[in-house]
């Protein structure tokens, strides 16, 4: 065992990379849940985004095009969920599960031709002086654009939810859809838009895994990250900045665990690989005592009878 081989600066930098897919998916789902919809299909949308983005990036040669296509693919899949739950009034839990099962199958089908292919590399930003600083440079100023986009998105969602009229309407729909409907807001339309946003975010998160974090395509490569993102929303008590904190925490667990595997710690690999999931459960247990911040209409179908 050689723990000195672990470089703390690289550790923090790679922690941020590992956290970004989680953050993107969680921010998307946070908006969806704020509108009162529980979409359990995050895993399915992520893996669909992962393969759609990967394929687009390989075919076009541009990783950014990959991210755009991934967002569109995630949103397209979430549109199915919206049709089921908002139009056909199907059970949200069951529909979300259906989305995940379908997404896993679809991605495996689409991905057959891309196993073992290398995607085009995403460039990192390079700011002349800042990126070359010791310690601070690699941590803060030498990442890819999407990572910064994730942080900016967190800030944007926070600001929109807190300070704008649109955010207020979204929250109203999530807290009490009957009242929002009575005030004349289009509950179904607002929720559908939120679901599409969540799908696009999850798709991008998936593409981040297949294009930057790994980067290659393997079947089922999201390995439960979509589900951890769902847990993260609970962890964050539906607050964007806490979602960022949570994503970095989970990213940290993943990275440390991988580093320990590489360093050859005496704990078997399988038990180290379990740790992110076990810690998710632990965090859920600690935080589930307080449910007061959950949107009041979360998971309930809305049908305008009048």
């Amino acid at each position: 065992m050689d723990l000195s081989a672990i470089n703390p600066v690289l550790l923090i930098a790679s922690l941020m990379v590992a956290a970004t897919p989680l953050l993107l998916a969680a921010i998307g789902e946070l908006v969806v849940e704020k509108s009162g919809v529980l979409n359990l299909g995050v895993e399915g949308m992520m893996i669909t985004g992962a393969i759609a983005g990967f394929a687009a990036a390989v075919e076009s040669g541009s990783p950014l095009a990959g991210f755009v296509v991934a967002a569109v693919a995630g949103a397209a899949l979430s549109l199915l969920f919206a049709a089921l739950t908002q139009v056909a009034l199907a059970n949200q839990v069951a529909s979300g599960l259906a989305l995940t099962l379908f997404g896993l199958g679809l991605s495996a089908l689409l991905g057959q031709r891309y196993v073992g292919v290398k995607p085009p590399q995403m460039g990192r930003i390079d700011i002349p002086v800042l990126s070359d600083l010791p310690v601070v440079g690699p941590i803060l100023f030498a990442h890819d654009v999407i990572l910064y986009f994730g942080i900016a998105l967190t800030g944007a969602v926070w600001a929109v939810l807190k300070f704008t009229r649109a955010g207020l309407v979204l929250r109203a729909v999530g807290e009490n859809h009957e009242a929002a409907h009575a005030l004349g807001y289009k509950v179904v339309r607002i929720r559908t838009l939120a679901i599409l946003f969540g799908g696009a975010c999850a798709g991008m998160g998936g593409a981040y895994i297949s294009l930057i974090r790994v980067p290659q395509w393997t079947e089922g490569m999201t390995a439960g990250i979509g589900w951890i993102a769902l847990a993260l929303v609970v962890f964050a008590s539906w607050k964007p900045w806490r979602a960022l904190l949570g994503a970095y925490l989970f990213g940290g667990v993943t990275v440390v665990q991988l580093n320990l595997q590489a360093a050859g710690v005496a704990i078997p690999v399988e038990y180290l690989a379990m740790s992110p999931y076990l810690i998710t459960i632990l965090v859920l247990v600690i935080l589930s005592a307080d449910k007061s911040s959950a949107p009041a209409s979360l998971g309930r179908s809305f049908h305008a009878s009048r």
Binding site: L89, S95, A98, F102, G103, L104, G105, E219, G224, V285
Partner: protein, 360 residues
Amino acid sequence: MIRLEKRPQPSRVWSLTTPLVAVVATMIMGGVLFALLGKDPVEAILTIFWDPLFGEFAFYYRPQLLVKGAPLVLIAIGLSLGFRAGIWNIGAEGQYIIGALTGAGVGLAFYPMEGWFIFPLMVFAGALGGWAWAMIPAVLKTRFGTNEILVSLMLVYVAEQFLASMSLGLMKNPEGFGFPGSRNLQQYASAHNAEIVTGTGMHWGVVAALIAVIFAYVLLNRHMLGYHIRLTGEAPRAARFAGVKPARLILFCLGASGALAGLAGMFEVSGPAGQVSIDFNVGYGFTAIIVAFLGRLHPVGILLAGGLMALTYIGGDIAQGNLGLPSAAIQVFQGMLLFFLLALDLLTNYRIAFGKPEVA
């Protein structure tokens, strides 16, 4: 102007016909999918749904129907109890793995001793293992209010890692020339879940599945506990006033589904699969969710749905061999089925009305 009107009561006719309509719709969309993949859609659908039952080699495939259907039905029956009461155990795959590990573990511990009591002990251990694994989300839910959906699902990934660790470590065959995987239980008479009647595919898991169907039917229709389960699902508030204890219901539903999933895993590892290996689980725990919904959460419906789903597995295998249809296409096909089912459920609870609503 088309609008939806809530029915005063769910339509019985639609409730029974939606699964059939959903299957037909899935076949059509599936045909489109297969055509897009460059296969002849009619041939593909026939290969999946006709050949296993009436084709040239049907004598070989028909027993497979029982082998693949039994675990699906066993797991789905357990899940349906919880789904009816709004308790979502979606980690059956994990309970299935743990049941297989505990069941096989007991069998391997006795090797090479022979005895009539070994197999019953394994059955008990398998059920206990699955039950214990499901008790984790159940106890966390009742004690701390933790979301059982997320916990049960996280435990699937934990169980998969545990399976890998076992098949590479503790349970590895000492005479296996270093290959991962345990001893083959098919070659160990006392632990082998052999066919009861040779050539029929009828093993003890099939018997257990049939017993589970009857048990669930009686429970739901003739027993107070079953009534409480249905009441909680349909009117949670009324159930509380009637004195139903939610905690006990959660413990029972998760425990029962865990035990049944554990049994399914144990029967699979000691019979058709034969050994504990890294890729032992093939997703029955997730497909069983589709089976439960396709069977309308009704025991008899689940029995039929399990058969149909087993058919798509077998037919999918044949189509993979004969037509080069990728195995993932069947997964998409199964996912589509659930979509159509959920969408068409609308017709059970709502009526489509035309024209403007009259002013009262």
